[in-house]
Amino acid sequence: MRLLLVEDEAPLRTQLAQQLEQHGYAVDCAGDGREALYQVREFDYDLAVIDLGLPVIDGLSVIRSIREQQKRFPILVLTARGRWQDKVEGLEAGGDDYVAKPFHIEEVLARLNALLRRSGGFASPLLEFGRLAIDTAKQEVRVDTKAIEFTAFEYKALLYLVHHHGQVVSKTELTEHLYDQDFDRDSNVIEVFIGRLRKKLDPDQTLKPISTIRGRGYRFELASAADV
């Protein structure tokens, strides 16, 4: 998941970016509002974490401007001031949830997780697709109650496909949303990973969770229990 982190305090930004990366996000950072708006125009994000007190262009204006550009990705508002007025303003401007400083990284991760689920149309942290179940809180994947071990990257790839279930996801899109900006796009690593995912999820080829759409990309085919 590609995430934009907008925070002007460099130490906090670096630390938070590191922690988010450790938890599987591809993180881009911006130190002020103008930079943030530039990044939003240039790249496609799945999530944003935006501090309200930003130099150059303040956080509220950044959020408003993002929404005016019809960008729908979830925004988590960081606020140093814990007053309800600030929170209400942040959410009115177009934020989706808030975390007050100082925060635990666990709380930020939980909120981001919830926001992602919400934007993917899932209500609970447990995503169920028939025999396949993904617990996004614990980062566990089960098929027929049997736990399957994934590497962090495999899990990320699976989750991205799951969040866009029923849609065709191109290789480029997958690369962009899973890796940091400087990743070499020519590699066929994605194909390898998808192959491994299929093998692990569906060793006997009865589930067929991911199909290849020739020339366009991949599609997660299973229907969510919540959709039925």
């Binding site: 309800w84 209400v88 949830d97 100082p102 919400r118 609970s124």
Partner: protein
């Protein structure tokens, strides 16, 4: 260079057009208005004096005419005027009163002895333009001397039964009247001029006297600023007393606010010492206990939020604006709908569109935000917010269908919040903040049992 010069001129002009002093403004205004007023008065008086002069000359000449008319006799030689009747001045050479009787065609029939020395020219007698029969004509003009002229044409029946038209002309020298008018004007302008001077002087004195309290106020304010006095005295005239009282109130509030900031800062500094001490202790350990650190950090965070909230609580309560409650609650509800997206509590809001609340928006958002946050946490699926305006109170009730609050805990919740020190770590400060806000507005909070099954927080907010 030129620009700067232009700017200076402009500034000077502005200073001239609106002097930066009330006294100077009033004085300048009266310096414009007073001369105009006095000139108009003078003009009016001069005109009416002149008019009355003319009208009395007219009357006098008419009387002379009637006297002359009575004295005219006809005989075979022509007209005769009885010398016994009429003004003696008519018989005295160059007396200033002259009479002439002539034929409308210009033939001179009779002239008073006084007019013998007079050059009875055509202009003097208006021979080319005699008055119509039976119509008086009166005018003034300057020949060699200023003259008033009365003319009348009448038809005289002679003894032969013939009708004979006659034009009577009475002339009066106006030199005396002219000099009388000049003397009057001199006196008038002198009088008005001195009045203007006196009035201006009087006004300057009145202004000085009238604006004295303002100067006093400025002086007192300087004293206040320099710390020679704590409040403004109460001896100002009525108009300023209100201002002084307001200023005093403002000062007092500012004083209170400063006091509160000082107390808050003191409290904050004091209350942060304990967790800091714990942290320092922990830092000297080789393997710091993360839970301990967390607890202390959380505690410090809460202390800071709580004390800051207390400090910014708006205090000048009679300067509060009226707020519409419904949009405020709607804002909060849409916020909570986002924050508690997964729990998705159902909100029932029953507030009239015109329901008003007096207070600071930030305070109300904080109060209702904290209570609604608690309700969202506690509820199973529904929350209701009801507000009603009565004459003295605005009643707001927030209810949920959660587990409710046991009766023995209710009083404790309401009493919390006097000092943030007394909080156990991990305890939310939301309710404490809410209680503080309610206290500062003189509002009341009551915790009870909701018909929905959970807790019911009832607020009684003063309506004025």
């Amino acid at each position: 260079m030129f620009n700067r010069w232009l700017l200076r001129i402009q500034r000077n002009l502005q200073q001239i057009s609106a002097p930066n002093s009330i006294a100077r403004r009033l004085l300048m205004a009266s310096l414009v208005i007073l001369p105009l007023y006095l000139a108009a008065t003078g003009w009016f008086f001069a005109r009416s004096f002149e008019a009355s002069q003319l009208s009395s000359a007219h009357d006098r000449l008419r009387v002379q005419f009637y006297a002359l008319l009575g004295a005219v006799e006809f005989d075979a030689e022509g007209i005769k005027v009885g010398t016994h009747i009429g003004d003696p001045r008519l018989r005295q050479l160059n007396s200033g009163l002259y009479a002439v009787v002539q034929h409308p065609q210009g033939e001179l029939l009779w002239q008073s002895p006084s007019s013998v020395g007079l050059d009875l020219n055509q202009q003097l007698l208006a021979t080319d333009n005699p008055p119509h029969t039976g119509v008086e004509r009166f005018d003034t003009f300057v020949d060699t001397i200023p003259l008033a002229r009365f003319q009348y044409q009448t038809v005289w029946e002679t003894d032969d039964g013939e009708d004979m038209p006659l034009v009577f002309t009475i002339l009066e020298d106006q030199t005396a009247q002219r000099s009388e008018l000049r003397a009057f004007l001199r006196e008038l302008w002198f009088g008005l001029g001195s009045a203007a001077l006196l009035l201006t002087l009087a006004q300057a004195i009145i202004l000085r006297w009238g604006l004295q309290p303002l100067r006093q106020l400025a002086h007192d304010l300087t004293d206040l600023e320099q710390g020679h006095r704590a409040a403004l005295p109460e001896h100002y005239p009525e108009e300023l007393q209100i201002l002084a009282a307001n200023l005093n109130q403002l000062l007092q509030r500012e004083q209170q606010q400063r006091e509160r900031y000082r107390n808050t800062l003191g409290d904050l500094a004091h209350s942060l010492k304990t967790p800091l001490a714990v942290l320092r202790q922990a830092a000297s350990n080789t393997t710091p206990d993360r839970t301990l650190l967390d607890e202390q950090i959380q505690r410090m965070d809460q202390l800071i939020s709580y004390q800051l909230q207390r400090a910014v609580l708006s205090s000048p309560h009679n300067l509060q604006q009226r707020l519409l409650l419904k949009p405020l609650v709607d804002k909060l509800v849409s916020t909570f709908a986002k924050v508690y997206f997964e729990k998705n509590p159902g909100f029932t809001v029953a507030i009239a569109e015109d329901c008003e609340c007096r207070g600071d928006e930030a305070d109300l958002l904080e109060l209702l935000g904290n209570l609604l946050d608690n309700a969202c946490k506690a509820c199973k699926r529904s929350i209701s917010i009801v507000a009603n305006n009565s004459e003295r109170w605005l009643l707001i009730a927030i209810e949920d269908d959660g587990p409710g609050i046991a009766e023995d805990r209710r009083a404790a919740i309401l009493q919390r919040g006097q000092r943030a020190d007394s909080y156990a770590p991990g305890q939310g400060i939301g309710l404490a903040v809410a209680v503080d806000i309610l206290d500062s507005y003189g509002a009341e909070l009551d915790i009870g049992q909701s018909a929905l099954g959970g807790a019911r927080f009832s607020i009684r907010w003063p309506a004025r």
